[in-house]
Symmetry: C2
Subunit: 351 residues, 2 copies
């Protein structure tokens, strides 16, 4: 039994005493202690692949702030790395692959990795973090979505608009569908393995689905999100395992995302959460959606903006407070404390 | 009298024989003749500032394709350059300013430039292009929106998410409002001067409004778009001068944009144009919205995707075909020809 189960309650739209909060990328570079552990590991990827150190940074934000969840420290691109594409990071340029998918035979040869064999280090981090949390708060497991993984696998790295991937989508749609099919099976198996290792909730990051036309989003991202959600374990032992689907820039397709069968929909900061709640009509919980730039302002502004989002969501359960995107490395930790306190204190009146 | 007034008719939702088409950045690097003229000018900015050569490239795409409009060759950032911020371009990094707004006194000293004095070169290009077009098709004048100009002025250059600007928005909103107030007056005067020099339609590019939360968009971008639209000349001599407002990533706020008083709303490729038409209920015309990546595929795919958009818009006037973003430099010119022909031929059945 979790001591603090507000996250699970909110995701399942069950009554809770207040609105739970956690932050995307909460274990990250804005924390001095994270930077120290990362320096010990040598690099971001070495840190991801070292379960002892990854567990250490998973827990760091919980030691500082009264957050209602931990999220396993990892990367969204572990699956293509396990497929043999060779993930690496260049400072200031984001993720890259040594062997992006450039030829048809490479795509035809793609195989879904066995998570117990090729992603053991993630499962070990999940298991260790779960034990270390000692049922204080739930641990969230995650993966990139099938489409988002494909973007990096085809493009070979980060991009503002992924032109190679979008060209393949129109010029060779059957090849992209093949990649997405393999990715869907890989993501499902990987997330279920995380659940078996101790994850109590699951989040799918569809970081780049918002780049697509409405029709292409349905065909190349949404359809595969649906397939993953349908394959996820929903109950493990005595525990319900809720899931969250987050398409950044997906505000136009909120109803479609809610219809994937997920428990909750993540919102970026561009959509008004009150309008979003109206549109999904209680079918799902909502997670979000403070502009991360608000954390650069003074605590008084942070409180005001947090109150605004709580008021926009309104009364009742079904809201997990979060940022609309990952926390910036330039955020002052004391501003995070101000946000967490503001959400906890002010949200009680809505419950 | 224009020989081909389909663009004006479509923007004013008057009957037309077919759906007009032009392409954002149609005078650009995908055309070998453009690259030759640019090489003669020495740089992109030198080309913008040379009315003879800028007129030459304005006309180049019209010589190749049966486009229904020309757009004056210029940059969205001419106004802050005329304010003294020192616009320059670094290959592969986009626009930069030598003197971004870093101090409060710089912001307080900001003045709206007199377009006849400081932006003479743009007005000369408009006048020369207008004469050279000889009333074949209308010439479109344009500017960046007040908020989009402010993004570059504060940040000092391009960015994926303009963190300095978004921080100012929450931490010092009154300073950002001051910049936006000056920008609104500058943009209005600049666009009206373009109309007096021969522009027959106007487009406002709000490239970065889509970065904002719904509330911040209304307060920091939409409000100033409204102010500019309210100040625009709507009739010049015998000619109605329609205008188009384009907020990239603004699909969630379509109704609000339609209520600015503009004649047409530009759409990026993420929104279904049929759904957009339903939402604006005939209050405005719509411009868009093919994914530019479609132009990397074969002509058969290009035709199919163009037909899809024409069908989604449906019967009647009020649609200007365009891409949802500027054409890529890697586009094959023959694919543009295929698109223009497909739109002209296939759209007749909807009129």
């Amino acid at each position: 039994m979790l001591k603090n189960d507000t996250l699970i309650r909110a995701l399942l739209r069950q009554p809770a005493p207040y609105t739970p909060i956690w932050l995307m990328r909460q274990a990250g570079r804005y924390l001095p202690e994270y930077n120290q552990t990362r320096a010990r590991a040598g690099s971001f990827l070495a840190l991801c692949k070292n379960p002892d150190l990854a567990t250490e940074v998973t827990l760091q934000p919980l030691a500082r702030f009264a957050l209602d969840a931990a999220i396993v420290f990892s990367d969204i691109l572990t699956i293509p790395d396990a497929m043999g594409l060779g993930l690496y990071f260049v400072e200031g340029e984001g993720p890259k692959f040594e062997r992006p998918l450039r030829n048809e035979w490479e795509i035809r040869n793609l195989r879904a990795p066995d998570p117990h064999q090729h992603l053991r280090y993630v499962l070990d981090t999940v298991a260790q973090s779960h034990r270390a949390l000692a049922s204080e708060v739930p641990l969230i497991g995650f993966s990139g979505s099938p489409f988002t993984l494909a973007c990096y696998m085809v493009e070979g790295g980060a991009s503002t608009d992924f032109p190679v991937t979008r060209t393949m989508l129109y010029a060779r749609p059957e090849l992209l569908h093949h990649i997405l099919d393999v990715n869907s099976r890989a993501v499902t198996a990987y997330l279920n393995a995380q659940i078996e290792a101790g994850a109590r909730a699951i989040m799918l990051f569809d970081t780049w689905g918002g780049l697509l036309s409405a029709a292409a989003y349905r065909e190349f991202s949404l359809r595969y999100l649906e397939r993953v959600v349908a394959g996820l374990i929903r109950r493990h032992g005595a525990n319900a395992i809720p899931n969250i689907v987050f398409t950044k820039g997906g505000g136009l397709w909120l109803e479609d995302i809610a219809d994937t069968g997920c428990d909750a929909v993540g919102l970026d900061w561009t959509i008004d959460i009150g309008a979003a709640r109206q549109r999904v009509q209680g079918r799902v919980a909502l997670q979000g959606n403070l502009d991360p730039a608000v954390l650069f302002a003074e605590p008084a502004v942070i409180r005001e903006q947090a109150h605004r989002i709580l008021a926009a969501f309104g009364e009742g359960s079904g809201h997990v407070f979060n940022l609309g995107h990952g926390i910036s490395q330039f955020t002052a930790p004391e501003n995070v404390a101000a946000l967490v306190d503001a959400v906890h204190e002010h949200s009680r009146s809505y419950h």
